[in-house]
């Protein structure tokens, strides 16, 4: 450490080399002050700051034109200077209450020494030092706490043998000794008696802290620059909250002085003293538990020093940890399947506001002059020019000519955003690294950002009004970094489960499913499909008259691609195998299990074999192929999709009727008390469990019948089979039966006394009255069924609305707790101080982003080696 400056006497503002935290002494407060504040008035009749008032111009300037009386500099140059007030009576500082209490309890009230016998003082010292070596400063602090806890119980001073009385605290600021109040003056004299040598016990360092400084006798007045007043439109001045509070303090302090000097009765002085204590306490912290917060006349609490710093909205989280950026933009997003996966559609009006700085060189000067000529109004133009001396000039009709004239290498032109520029695209909450990805700009008409629907998944975006942010990196380094580390293709494989986060969705899956299922196309059709999907190389299309859908699909696959996998839907041959040999899809259909996001092993393998750039290109082609084929094919989900043949209807009716009578059976058994009870359950619980099981079974069985009898060639069935949207359950709910509505895992039992609705009898436990919906959506629900559906619907809505902020906070806590954990080269996971958290990362040492769904496919590795 550099030569220590005596901080008790000197107020320093210099270059920071090291920082020492201490408590300001009265001498220091006096020394750093430039003015003594004696009056609560702010301005005189002319509106000029009063000398010795809170806005004294010796404390710095906040008005343009005035000069600081202390340093002589103008507004913005003068950083402000402290003042001070002399307090008529000492006052406790709210932030030091706890320390003062500890000090009082652990030292002798007579001689001030710590209540540790002389011969043991050294032992405590070594104990603290040892704790520091083991547990750092934190450990020392814990040890201090332990010692203090023990000293509280000593009741006789080992030095002067004085009896120690019990000291307690009356919140927030009063100290009591045997239930009698001790004034801050007395507290202060006791603290003064504590010798420097004993301070180590409390973790205080002599020279930086003296206990008595924790009781204020003088108070620093912060410079006006940290509490500037605002001039309202009406010409009225509105003062800062701190100034208001300081005004209260000065006013009461003056009154206290006057009353003491006039020899006023003790009660009046006491009252004023307490009031002064209140004002000073709320000046530091307006959120003290037992104190009513000081308020504006409007009733809104004042924002004093602690509130300025603390919590969200405070200086740290709001101003220091939270930053705002230029060259960014935010609007609503909408889908555009025709742009590339790694592109983002930017509206022209946005592109004309955002800019990229380009340095003028010999070689691009003519090119850049064109931009300047077009100016800010004509796209693509330029908005600003920065001269080599750093002066920024706006391009306007008046300045344009002159700027063109003086433009030469070394100038920087802020050119408007163009196709191919690099941008970072982001959607909150940014829970992921995939929540911020780099896209290439594509300037489009319209007023929304456009993104390829396949990248919705990593952003968790949809188009029901979502907004997203766009940032334009301004330096060459930033652009390079964004492109190399953050571009969409680099984020393809999720580090969470090692599969592609981007895949085909919705139409694209349906389209590819239909395409790979269809047996024959004429050559003309095939070429047309491929062409419309943006593929112009037909050399890999077999030279035949009749071409199968699989052959069309194979065109987009790499020529030497080998793959063996499983599909979700059955293929023609009735199994689920997918086989790709030499880049030809030989067997199987393409559906969600191969192409979907977070599942597609096919995509994972393409990525592994051909790298991210090829993978994204191929994925883009597959996606487009699917959507173009689907739009050629035509696709409808009709009401008749869920038509069932009469046979199926009777079967389902029978299943449901059987289930209902079975339930009634159980209920009568229950009433007779003959039900066989499950271990650990009451009879009622057993009944409920059995009924739930029964009804679930009934619904599943009807679901199976629906699946058996539904026409496979309808839009709804195709979506369910290919996995592009909806499943067998949704089909069954539409066609046959919605099923049991459950509230917190139980059948609906709420509502009236012993019944759910007034149309039922009391104690009715039948499936009908407890929320089993026996109809399908197509046939329509009965009124009470509809109501049960509404109950669960509302409940789940409430649930999501309440759960989102909770899980957000949980995530925040986790992220903060784990943010500096890191996998070292020896595969151990350690925190910032090198402590081991896991001996092998994930217990198996596998880098998930290099695996398939967290596992290593050994067979494939062997196959590849062969």
């Amino acid at each position: 450490m550099a030569k220590a400056i005596d901080l008790t006497k000197e107020h320093v503002h210099k270059k920071v080399e090291n920082i020492v935290f201490g408590v300001a002494s009265p001498q220091l407060i006096n020394k750093m002050a430039t003015a003594k504040i004696v009056t609560p008035e702010l301005y005189d009749k002319e509106g000029y700051p009063v000398d010795g008032g809170l806005m004294d111009i010796r404390l710095g300037v906040i008005d343009p034109g005035l000069r600081c009386k202390t340093c002589g500099s103008k507004l913005k140059e003068c950083i402000g200077h402290f003042g001070y007030i002399e307090l008529a009576r000492p006052v406790v500082h709210i932030s030091f209450i706890k320390v003062v209490l500890d000090l009082l309890r652990s030292t002798c009230k007579e001689c001030g020494k710590v209540l540790i016998p002389k011969d043991r003082v050294n032992r405590y010292k070594t104990r603290l030092d040892k704790a520091e070596i083991e547990g750092g400063l934190e450990g020392r602090r814990d040890e201090v706490k332990k010692i203090i806890r023990k000293l509280k119980t000593v009741n006789k001073c080992p030095y002067c043998k004085a009896r120690q009385k019990k000291i307690s605290i009356e919140k927030p600021t009063a100290f009591l000794e045997n239930d009698k109040k001790i004034s801050p003056i007395e507290v202060r004299t006791r603290l003064e008696r504590i010798p420097d040598e004993d301070l180590f016990v409390f973790g205080l360092k002599p020279g930086y802290v003296r206990p008595e400084w924790m009781i204020l006798t003088v108070m620093p007045i912060p410079p006006v620059t940290i509490r500037p007043s605002i001039t309202l439109e009406s010409g009225e001045r509105s003062e800062d909250d701190l100034t208001h509070k300081l005004g209260d303090i000065v006013r009461i302090n003056q009154r206290l002085f006057e009353n003491i000097n006039a020899g006023a009765p003790e009660i009046i002085i006491e009252d004023l003293w307490d009031l002064l204590q209140y004002h000073i306490t709320t000046f530091f912290n307006n959120n003290v538990a037992q104190l009513p917060p000081a308020r504006h006349r409007s009733g809104q609490p004042l924002k004093t020093i602690t509130e300025r710093i603390k919590s969200k909205g405070g200086r740290i989280r709001h101003n220091l940890a939270g930053k705002r950026t230029n060259f960014s933009s935010r609007t609503v997003i909408s889908p555009d399947p025709m742009i590339k996966l790694n592109e983002v559609g930017v509206p022209k009006i946005v592109a004309m506001k955002l800019s990229v700085p380009e340095i003028v060189t010999e070689w691009n000067i003519e090119y850049l002059k064109e931009f300047v000529k077009r100016g800010p109004e004509e796209y693509p133009g330029a908005n600003y020019i920065i001269r080599p001396d750093g002066k920024k000039k706006k391009i306007t009709e008046e300045t344009q000519e002159a700027l063109l004239e003086e433009m030469e290498p070394g100038f920087i032109v802020e050119r408007q955003l163009m196709d191919g520029d690099i941008a970072i695209f982001n959607r909150q909450p940014s829970l992921h690294r995939m929540s911020m990805m780099c896209h290439k700009v594509r300037v489009l008409k319209g007023k929304t950002f456009r993104l390829n629907p396949a990248v919705c998944h990593p952003y968790n975006a949809d188009f029901d009004g979502d907004e997203m942010n766009l940032h334009i990196p301004q330096t060459e380094e930033a652009r390079a970094e964004a492109e190399i580390l953050m571009e969409v293709q680099t984020q393809l494989i999720s580090p969470r489960y090692g599969l592609s986060v981007i895949g085909c969705i919705q139409d694209s899956i349906s389209g590819n499913y239909l395409l790979t299922k269809r047996k024959s196309f004429s050559r003309k059709e095939a070429v047309s499909i491929l062409h419309d999907a943006g593929i112009s190389d037909f050399s890999r299309l077999p030279n035949k008259k009749k071409i199968s859908g699989k052959e069309i699909f194979s065109v987009v696959l790499p020529e030497d691609f080998e793959f063996k996998g499983k599909s979700r839907a059955e293929n023609e041959e009735g199994d689920k195998e997918v086989l790709i040999k030499k880049g030809k899809l030989i067997k199987g259909v393409m559906d969600r299990d191969n192409l979907g996001e977070g599942s597609g092993l096919l995509l994972r393998n393409i990525h592994k074999k051909y790298g991210e750039n090829s993978a994204i290109k191929i994925l883009g082609k597959i996606f487009k192929l699917g959507t173009t084929y689907l739009s050629k094919h035509g696709f409808t989900a009709a009401l008749s999709d869920t038509d069932l043949p009469e046979v199926a209807k009777t079967k389902i009716r029978k299943i449901l009727n059987d289930a209902e009578s079975e339930v009634n059976n159980l209920i009568s058994l229950y009433h007779q008390g003959k039900l066989e009870i499950f271990p650990g359950r009451t009879m009622k619980e057993t009944l409920e469990l059995k009924i739930l099981e029964l009804l679930n079974k009934a619904r599943n069985e009807s679901g199976n019948i629906v699946a058996e009898h539904l026409d496979k060639n309808t839009g709804s069935s195709i979506m369910s089979d290919s996995g592009s949207r909806g499943g067998p359950l949704n089909l069954a709910q539409m066609a046959a039966v919605v099923g049991q509505q459950a509230l917190r895992g139980k059948r609906i039992g709420k509502g009236y006394f012993e019944r759910t609705l007034s149309i039922f009898k009391k104690g009715d436990l039948s499936s009908r009255s407890r929320g089993f919906i026996k109809d399908g959506y197509k046939r329509g629900l009965e009124p009470h069924e509809f109501f049960f559906g509404a109950i669960t619907g509302r409940d789940s809505l409430m649930d999501t609305a309440l759960r989102t902020p909770k899980s957000g906070y949980l995530y925040r806590r986790l992220a903060n707790a784990m943010q500096d954990l890191k996998v070292e080269y020896d595969k151990t996971v350690r925190d910032a101080s090198g402590k081991i958290v896991q001996f092998k990362y994930g217990e198996d040492g596998i880098d998930v982003s290099k695996s398939e769904d967290g596992l290593l496919n050994i067979q494939r590795i062997i196959d590849n080696v062969k």
């Binding site: 083991e134 402590k835 081991i836 001996f839 217990e843």
Partner: protein
């Protein structure tokens, strides 16, 4: 510590993984392997019921072999501390 007779031994419970004490030699190689000091290891108190019967003292290292969802079996080490 006197053992109570009727107290069931937690070591036999299915959910308690295997705890072993490392010998001085094993301890040395382990610390060298991970290049750590005792302080940087996770901790376990001397009084922990699972190591009651191992007769441990402060500064020993306990090897814990757990079932792992990802790896089948995973080894952890903990340094013994007193309260």
């Amino acid at each position: 510590m006197a053992k109570k007779k009727n107290k069931s031994n937690v070591k036999n419970h299915v959910l308690i993984p295997k705890h072993e004490k490392l010998s001085e030699k094993e301890k040395k190689t382990m610390l060298e392997k991970y290049n750590v000091s005792l302080k940087e290891l996770p901790k376990i108190t001397k009084e922990d019921p699972a190591i009651e019967s191992l007769n441990v003292k402060e500064g020993d290292i306990i090897k814990i072999t757990r079932k792992s969802e990802t790896a089948g079996k995973a080894v952890f080490y903990r340094g013994v501390i007193s309260e």
